[in-house]
Symmetry: C2
Subunit: 414 residues, 2 copies
């Protein structure tokens, strides 16, 4: 049996936002919580000491990527992922199913889980520019795609050596067991916002099959979350919610596709969450600042996303509303801008992170434009500290009953 | 007047190695000391907090590079280099004269200060493959070279914008004053191991002229080191030593070229050091482990070198003799080797650095082959910690009278 429980400490009045505590064999996570991504067993640019100094409670690593490099069996032989990466808190792993999308259609069509973020996903009516049927999927399989999907599982063409690797529920559970992560995900197929109804339905049915197999095969010392699919089709999402939540998972994750806009994503949550029971709810791969507020309000407990560290590496650094952050600038300054050339202020004058305590915007801009490696760490530290601090404020506001006020202040809603 | 003094605490019996203490306005440096290089105002991949945790006493930044990016006037406006880079200890700056070599002949002929490191500097007799005269210098000026050198100063073609920048003793002193570093270098011309006698003599004479001008123009709140040149020609090196040490510098630096082999470098020091008085002695740009022992033995107090952090980024990590390090492997393992794929040991089982306390060779190899940014920091921390620890052992051995034994143990001399 897994040492795993979830307790709801506070539920907002007349709403779905809630304060909770996930207990795992490697420590507790107060929710809502933002889970930083350690794709290959490191949160990019940060060391184990940085994660500790930031007070990082948990991380999420990628099953498929670690399976390829350095290999889950090797990690197991070396004592598991915690020992390997020097992180003693709870680790989530995904199931590899997301890469069916990200290395398949996502890669080919240059779209994200919310299709409209990239031009290819947009049409005149704000919906998909094209629909992709089962036939299209088949036709493209084995060509530009790096994935082949059948009812049995997913074949991936490795970007390392060009060889094909096959994943199914059983092998995904085995890999996650080898990694010795604490919270694992059922094997699923993440569809594209471009997939049509029939294809999305087929993929959802596969995902439900695989959910049952994951329950059967998973390492019982690990907590297992089921993943709800169904794209942005109301009846499919509701069907998937009923199916997954009827199974004895430890927690429930909501996977993509989440439609073509943030509004679509909110709509999907409004279909799904009211049908869920009290188990913890994880929203996979989402984590911009407005998303956090909107999805916490809709009852999400945990989020994982590469965004805060990825945008940091590309020059985007978070600022709070007191320092001029808002929905218009996505709570970011872009440090490469010449206006910061002689700016003595820290990134965010209200931030107490190690970067802001010592470095000016001018210095960080200098490091950025000089491509100095020091930049990547200090920028990532700031953005993660910012996220953790934001989550703390959100938890505090749920405790105090001031969450809606906090959301309105941040998102500038009158 | 600069707040600067040097005290010799212990002198080895019958030899030149010595224990000393440099006092500066920003703190003391116990010598022999290895000074890490912060070319553009950051020790590559490390933050101010890393430098503090490593107990870094001082760093050396590059005048010419900071002059171009972000600009010394900007740094001055922002409160000086210490504030800019968040380092409160003493900072050395070079004079820009080294770039006359590194961006000029060094770049064109692909050689280092010790010519024989690269094939181009080698000939059948182990000496220079070619000699370069004044005429050759002139002919090449403005072609492949990025430098033009006259008795007035050095023009550099910027790698940033292609524009020419002129440096002379006066402007070098002005830039170093703007940077507000603590120990500055007189303006000099660093020649190539390929330069012939006549050219090296001419460059040395210029360097002596510029030494006088540097004394005249430098910011009197900064400690100024004169630089001895003269290539690997005995009479020139001795003439330069007499000239520079007759001037009222706070310390003496020894610049390149240092010949075509490590033996040549030792020979140069044996010509120079016996003629010096008790002022502190800095060897510019040298710092492999065998060099440290050989040059400390020959009376050098401080070294700066990019090598420990540069080789770390390229996969070479230091190991001590107890862990198999020696002259044959240059005290290094190369972490990219497949033999470390499943090696659970830390880089050096005898090391107590933050990297070795937690990470295995297997994990570091995984980060290295995956090009994960985390690698660069953790590898640099190890190599710098290793150098600092080695210097501490060396200082201890001078105090104890066991330096020669320590050197023999490390360099495996019977």
């Amino acid at each position: 049996m897994s040492v795993f429980s979830f307790e709801i400490l506070e539920q907002i009045k007349g709403g779905r936002a809630r304060l909770g505590r996930i207990k795992t064999r490697r420590g507790d996570i107060e929710t809502p919580y933002f889970v930083p991504v350690a794709t290959l067993g490191s949160v990019r640019a940060l060391g184990y000491d940085d994660l500790a100094a930031l007070g990082t409670k948990c991380t999420l690593a990628n099953t498929y990527h670690l399976h390829l490099q350095p290999g889950d069996e090797l990690i197991n032989k070396l004592g598991g992922l915690h020992k390997f990466m020097g992180f003693s808190g709870p680790i989530f792993t995904d199931s590899g199913g997301f890469q069916a999308f990200s290395l398949g259609f996502g890669r080919e069509h240059n779209i994200s889980k919310i299709g409209s973020i990239f031009p290819h996903g947009r049409a005149a009516d704000g919906r998909a520019a094209e629909k992709v049927s089962e036939e299209d999927h088949k036709r493209k399989n084995g060509k530009a795609n790096l994935t082949k999907i059948t009812d049995e599982g997913i074949s991936f063409k490795s970007l390392h050596d060009g060889r094909w690797h096959f994943l199914d529920a059983k092998s995904s559970m085995k890999i996650q067991s080898n990694l010795e992560s604490d919270i694992i995900m059922a094997f699923d197929e993440c569809t594209s916002p471009l997939s049509d109804y029939d294809y999305t339905q087929r993929a959802m049915q596969r995902t439900h099959e695989w959910a049952g197999q994951s329950l059967q095969y998973h390492d019982k010392s690990q907590a297992l979350y089921g993943i709800i699919q169904g794209g942005w089709f109301e009846d499919l999402r509701k069907e998937s919610t009923d199916c997954i939540s009827s199974m004895p998972f430890d927690g429930i994750a909501i996977g993509g596709s989440l439609g073509h806009s943030k509004q679509d994503m909110h709509q999907v949550l409004d279909w799904v969450v009211p049908k869920l029971d009290l188990r913890p709810r994880h929203l996979l791969g989402i984590g911009e600042i407005d998303d956090i507020f909107e999805c916490v309000e809709r009852g999400i407990d945990t989020f994982d996303c590469v965004s805060p560290t990825r945008i940091a590496r590309r020059g985007s650094l978070f600022i709070s509303p007191q320092s001029g952050g808002g929905p218009d600038n996505k709570f970011r300054i872009n440090i490469k801008s010449a206006i910061y050339r002689d700016d003595e202020k820290p990134i965010d004058p209200n931030c107490r992170c190690p970067t802001c305590r010592v470095y000016s915007r001018a210095y960080l801009r200098h490091l950025y434009v000089s491509r100095e490696l020091t930049y990547f760490r200090m920028a990532s530290i700031h953005n993660l500290h910012f996220m953790f601090h934001l989550m703390e404020e959100i938890r505090e506001s749920i405790r105090d009953g001031t969450f809606i006020g906090l959301k309105k202040k941040w998102l500038q809603i009158a």
